[in-house]
């Protein structure tokens, strides 16, 4: 695991629980620090994972440092709005489009947020828990 | 010079291709030569004294198995080959090992209704 105390120095009020650094309120600062700080140098954002816990949504950013072969998870809990990190990691664009497509979470700051996997005319966001499964729209391939 | 190196590489490349002209062809003529199929192969299902517990119905990912029971004794056991993906879950998790997948893989038919096969009836006719 990367040495935690560097992170704790710079971000004292970010708690680390269940192996994830919780950065709900300052995600942009934390990510840009993790990327640019020479000792940590997390230069690759592997993927953004979205989970829908009905009352709130959680985003997990999996970061990997290719030089030190270290990985860390940063989690953000929020409602339906999130800040886009495409400015820091270019690879986040496809992830954010897919999460918007399947979860309906809007990312402010994303160059052009559009549906990625589903056809543009698809209504609803399938991976949300309240998505009606036996919807007649899904009968089209029966 | 690089020209001679590339000409040499071209000639070597050509001779590695021509080398194969004198080797035996690897194509197998399917209808005439039967392919060798081993015992672990997962093909058509066969049923043997099934107790109708319905465990395979719970474990099938594609929902292809239909167990028809009339007050506790088995009347029909239909597998829908449109949906079946031959994963073998029913065979692995069947408590009494009564359903097994055989080596027979030629299941093509020209009308869809043939694909819903009642294995219990087949077991009686054999």
């Amino acid at each position: 695991m990367p040495d935690i105390n560097i992170i704790r120095e710079h971000f004292p009020n970010n708690i680390i629980e269940a192996g994830k650094l919780d950065a709900s309120f300052n995600i942009i600062e934390v990510l840009s620090f993790l990327k640019n700080c020479p000792e940590l140098s997390f230069d690759m954002l592997l993927s953004i994972i979205a989970i829908d816990y009905i009352h709130y949504n959680e985003l997990i950013y999996c970061l990997l440092s290719t030089h030190l072969n270290e990985s860390i998870k940063v989690s953000v809990k929020m409602k339906n709005e999130a800040k886009s990190v495409t400015a820091i990691y270019k690879s986040a664009y496809f992830d954010e489009c897919e999460i918007y497509d399947l979860f309906g979470i809007k990312f402010t700051g994303n160059p052009n947020l559009k549906r990625l996997l589903l056809p543009q005319s698809w209504a609803g966001h399938p991976l949300k828990k309240d998505y009606i499964l036996n919807d007649e729209r899904l009968k089209w391939n029966e | 010079m690089s020209i001679f190196k590339s000409i040499k590489a071209l000639i070597i490349g050509h001779f590695t291709v021509i080398k194969h002209m004198f080797k035996k062809a690897v194509t197998k003529e399917y209808p005439e030569e039967r392919p060798i199929v081993n015992n672990f192969f997962r093909g058509k299902h066969v049923l043997k004294n099934c107790t109708g517990c319905g465990y395979c119905k719970k474990v099938c990912p594609a929902g292809a198995i239909e167990v028809i029971k009339k007050d506790k004794d088995l009347v029909g056991y239909v597998i829908d080959y449109n949906k079946c993906i031959f994963c073998g879950n029913c065979m692995f998790y069947c408590p009494t090992k009564s359903i097994t997948l055989t080596n027979e893989f030629e299941l093509a038919t020209d009308n869809k209704s043939d694909l819903k096969i009642d294995l219990l009836e087949q077991e009686r006719t054999i």
Partner: protein, 362 residues
């Protein structure tokens, strides 16, 4: 500037599946390229929410049908970590051997189709002739050529009775790779088509989150097999070239095939000399209740790092499964590296990234 938008449609001989590239052409030069994906989206993550763990296991091979073992290993490993199941040593070795064989067969398929994209007709038949040997071996021990359903939670379904044909397979493949290299590695036309074409610098590769052979071809030393516990007592070295063009991606994959042969050789030695009769290959376990926990389990697939995120809140169906696949990001980088490139080079670059569409759309 009269732009012609050409879309390399979902149905095109060289898109390895159903990718649609909307390309703005100025003459033969590409002005902008926009990948449009989703034609093969089967909703793997939504399926997981309505199926229990045993039902979902056979579906996992289908995420990337060319490397089925890797994805079933990632899923089984996630469930085993969730329930703290300890996999017997023999099962781990069988898993490594099958995964490395699968890596060779996936690289062989890439080699054949990449050469067809560049116009050479015969290498695909040589590559498929070798791949057929591996496919027949998989059919002999797991039952199917591609959709194996052979790994299960706690080990493998049944024991592998014999290894001698694995030895003969890797011997024939070993010298056949020498054939490919003689046929292509110095071929002037192949060099002219691939050397410094589609160069991906080290910074650009990490920025666009490329992993696997594409990353190692740009000179970044990152192979996830290093921190996978089951690879600990197997020594293999990571293949690295640092030009980052199509030719170095070709070289990385050819040498990786040789590395996999060395790994399989060690697995056979271990499996052969250990008295194979008494060692268990499966940890008998019945999974009823699951702890309320989340797990990240990843594996070094032939195309890059594949990560399975499993989140369960008790009950026997997973609450959320997320698959991180590497082709998803290799398609995204096309937007960046296809600018200012001529039409034939699109095929050369796209082919060299080894993008397989089921992995992209899941």
């Amino acid at each position: 500037m009269n732009k012609m938008t050409l879309n390399l449609g979902p149905q095109h001989p060289a898109t390895h599946g159903v990718l649609r590239l909307i390309i703005d052409l100025d003459g033969e030069e590409v002005v902008s390229a926009e990948p449009d994906i989703g034609y093969l989206h089967r909703g793997m993550e939504k399926l997981a929410e309505t199926r229990n763990y045993y039902q979902y296991l056979p579906m996992v091979d289908r995420i990337d049908y060319l490397s089925g073992f890797f994805y079933s290993y990632a899923f089984c490993n996630a469930v085993e970590e969730l329930n703290h199941i300890k996999v017997p040593q023999k099962a781990s070795y069988i898993r490594i051997m099958l995964m490395e064989l699968n890596r060779i067969s996936s690289h062989l398929l890439w080699f054949g189709t990449y050469l067809i994209d560049l116009g050479a007709i015969s290498p695909i038949f040589y590559a498929f002739r070798e791949r057929e040997l591996i496919m027949d071996y998989f059919e002999k021990i797991t039952g199917q050529r591609m959709m194996y359903n052979y790994f299960t939670f706690g080990g493998v379904r049944h024991d592998i009775p014999f290894f001698d044909d694995v030895q003969s397979i890797i011997n024939t493949i070993g010298d056949k790779i020498g054939d490919y290299e003689r046929l292509l590695s110095e071929n002037p036309i192949f060099l002219d088509r691939t050397v410094n074409v589609g160069v991906i610098s080290e910074k650009k590769a990490t920025e666009w989150a490329l992993t696997g052979p594409n990353l190692r071809a740009s000179g970044v030393l990152s192979d996830f097999r290093v921190n996978m516990p089951i690879y600990d007592d197997i020594d293999f070295d990571i293949v690295l070239t640092n030009e980052g063009d199509c030719y170095s991606r070709y070289l990385v994959r050819i040498y990786e095939m040789r590395e996999s042969i060395k790994i399989i050789q060690q697995c056979i030695q271990w499996l052969g000399q250990c008295s194979s009769r008494d060692l268990p290959f499966l940890e008998k376990v019945t999974l009823k209740t699951f702890p309320n926990q989340e797990v990240f389990s990843s594996v070094e697939a032939p195309r890059g790092l594949s990560m399975c995120y499993l989140n369960s809140i008790g009950g026997n169906t997973p609450y959320r499964v997320k698959w991180r696949t590497s082709s998803f990001y290799s398609t995204q980088i096309l937007k960046d590296i296809l600018v200012g490139v001529t039409v034939p080079e699109i095929m050369a670059i796209y082919g060299s990234l080894d993008v397989v569409l089921p992995e992209v759309d899941r």
